[in-house]
Amino acid sequence: MAKKNKNVATRVIDVLGGFHVAIVSMVLLLILTWLSTLEQTGPGGLYWTLKKYFSFDAWYVVPTLNGKDLPIILPGGYWVCVVFTLNLIFGGVIRMRKGIKQLPIFFSHVSMAMLMIGGAITYHQSREAYMVLPVGASGDFAFSLTELSVEVAEIDGYDKKRPYVIDSKQLEAVRGQVGATQEYLFPELPFDIRVSDYYINAKLYPMQGSAPEGAVAVDGYYAMAAEPTGHEEQNLSSCVVRVIERESGKQHEVMLYEGVGHDVTVTIDGKVYGFRMHGEVWNTPFQVRLDDSRGEKHPGTGMAMIYESDVTVLDSDGNAERSFKIEMNKPLRYKDLTFYQTSWEEKDGLVESGFTVKTNPSDQWPKYSIYACGIALFVHFIIKLFGFVSSSIARNKHD
C-alpha cells in the first residue's frame, strides 16, 4: 500500500507530538531547574535567576556557575514548557489511540497538560505583594518588593487625593537604562512628566557643596548609582522626574528615591502635587487584623523553624467577618486572595508578621491536576493488574 502523503502541518504536529520531543523537553527542564537552583544561590539571587531562566523574554540561557559563564547555550525554560505542553496536547491527547483501556492514560495526559497551562496562567496572571503587620494592627494594602511604581497625587492641605499610578511595566523602558527618557502624559493634570536617570540601585545624599562627578543632583540632593544586588527586594531605586507645565512650558525637577517614605512636591498653579517612587501598592478588598502571632527560629541561623498567626478578616466598616489561623504551608484563602506567612520578627517585645499576598486564577490547578493524574494512573494500574491476573489464570487453566 502506498504511504499516504502528509501535509506540512500534519508533519509538524507529528514531530511536536512525538516521543523524542517529550524526552528532550523533560531532560532540558531537569537541566534548567538544576542549573537555576545552583545559580540562584549566587549573586544573581532568586528573582533575577528566575527571570533569566524562565521568563517569557528569555529565548535562550547561558548558565553561570561560580561567577563564570558555562560554554553552553540552553533554550529558555518558558519556551521549553510551551513545547512540552504542545507535545502533551498533540501526542498525549489528540494523536493518542482512543479506547476504553486508554482512558486513564488519556486523563493523566490531560491533567499534566492542565498543570502546564495552570503554570502559564500563574506566570501571566498572578500578582504578588507583601503585607507587614504588627500584632494588633490591621492592613488594607500590600506592596510589591520587586515591581516599582511612580505615583503622582494632588495634595490639598492635610489631604492627599487618589494618586495616578505609573506601573512597573510602564517604567520598563527607562529602568536601569542610562540615558533613556520616557515621557508620561497626564491628560487630567496641568502637566506631563519625563522620567530619566533611573538607577536600579542607588544611594541618596544631601548636597554638601557640590555633587561628586557622575552624580545626578536635584534640589539639594544627589543620587549615586550603586551595583544592583541579586536580591531585588534589597535594591533601592532612584530616578529624576522633569515636570513640564503644559500651558507655560515651565519645568521643575524632582529626585525620587525608593528609600524616601513620603511624597516630594512641586507647586503648579497654586496646587501642590506629590511625587513618590515605591513598590506597587495593591489595595486589598478587605482588611486583615493580626490578633496574635507566635514564632520560633533555628538557633544561630535566624531561619524560621515555626510561625503561625491568628488573623481576623474585617469588612470595609471594620467589622469582623471571619477568623483564621495561618501556619507555615497553611495559607489563608479568602475572596480570591491567598495569604502566606513569609516572615516573623520579634524585637523589644513587638511581634511583627509578614505575609505574601497573592492572587492567582490557577491557584488550585496543580493540586487538582496531581489528584486527577494520580487517580488516572491508579485506575490504569488496576486495569493492567486485572488484565495480567486474568491472563495468568487463563494460562494456568489452559496448561
Binding site: 487618589r162 495616578y164 520616557q182 539639594g220 512641586v266
Partner: protein, 179 residues
C-alpha cells in the same frame, strides 16, 4: 542586479535605517489609572499642611519633615531631644550669639495644643555641614508636646525669611499629632 541599481539601493536602504532609528524609541504613555487611598498613604506621626509656595524634599535622619523654598531657603521639622532653652541657645550660637535664653521671654505661638516659643536671629549663619550664609535670618519655633520637643526651623536670606513669615506661622499652627 547591475551596479547602478546597487549604488542607488544602498543609500536608500541606509536612509531608511536612519529614518527608523531616528524615530522616538519610547512613544509617550498616557496615564489615567488611579488607585484608592489606603493606610499606606498615611505617613509619619505628624500631620502638617505645607504652604503651596514651599516644596517638600526628602527627609533625612534629623529632619522628619523637610521643605525648601525659593532657591536655597530651608524649613524643617525635627522631633528633638532636650529642652527649649538649650536648643534655642544652640540655634542662636549658629548666628554667633552666646546670649542666654529666657524661655518665658520668647514670643508665643499656639501649636499642637500647647504654647510654642519663637526664636529669631539675623546675621551670618554657620551651619552644621560647613555651610555659611551671609545676611541670613532664622525663624524657629519649639513646642513641647506629649513628652517630645518639636522644633521647626527656617533658615534663609533675611529678606526671604521675612517674606515667608506668615507661611511659617501658618505652618507651625497646622502641625498635629496623627491619631
Amino acid at each position: 542586479m547591475n551596479s547602478r541599481k546597487l549604488l542607488l539601493g544602498i543609500p536608500t536602504l541606509l536612509a531608511g535605517i536612519l529614518l527608523v532609528s531616528c524615530q522616538d524609541e519610547n512613544p509617550p504613555i498616557e496615564i489615567t489609572e488611579r488607585r484608592d487611598l489606603t493606610s499606606y498613604d498615611t505617613e509619619g506621626n505628624l500631620k502638617v499642611a505645607m504652604p503651596s509656595e514651599w516644596r517638600r524634599v526628602p527627609s533625612t535622619r534629623f529632619r522628619d519633615y523637610n521643605c525648601r523654598f525659593n532657591e536655597d531657603g530651608e524649613v524643617y521639622i525635627s522631633i528633638a531631644s532636650g529642652g527649649i532653652k538649650e536648643n534655642a541657645e544652640r540655634w542662636l550660637k549658629q548666628f554667633g550669639s552666646s546670649d542666654a535664653v529666657v524661655v518665658e521671654e520668647l514670643a508665643g505661638i499656639e501649636s499642637m495644643g500647647a504654647t510654642g516659643r519663637l526664636i529669631e536671629a539675623q546675621g551670618t549663619f554657620q551651619g552644621m555641614r560647613g555651610i555659611t550664609i551671609e545676611d541670613a535670618a532664622l525663624l524657629g519655633m519649639m513646642v513641647e508636646s506629649a513628652g517630645n520637643l518639636i522644633t521647626v526651623k527656617m533658615v534663609a536670606k533675611a529678606d526671604e525669611v521675612a517674606a515667608q513669615r506668615e507661611n511659617f506661622m501658618a505652618f507651625c499652627r497646622s502641625i498635629e499629632w496623627r491619631k
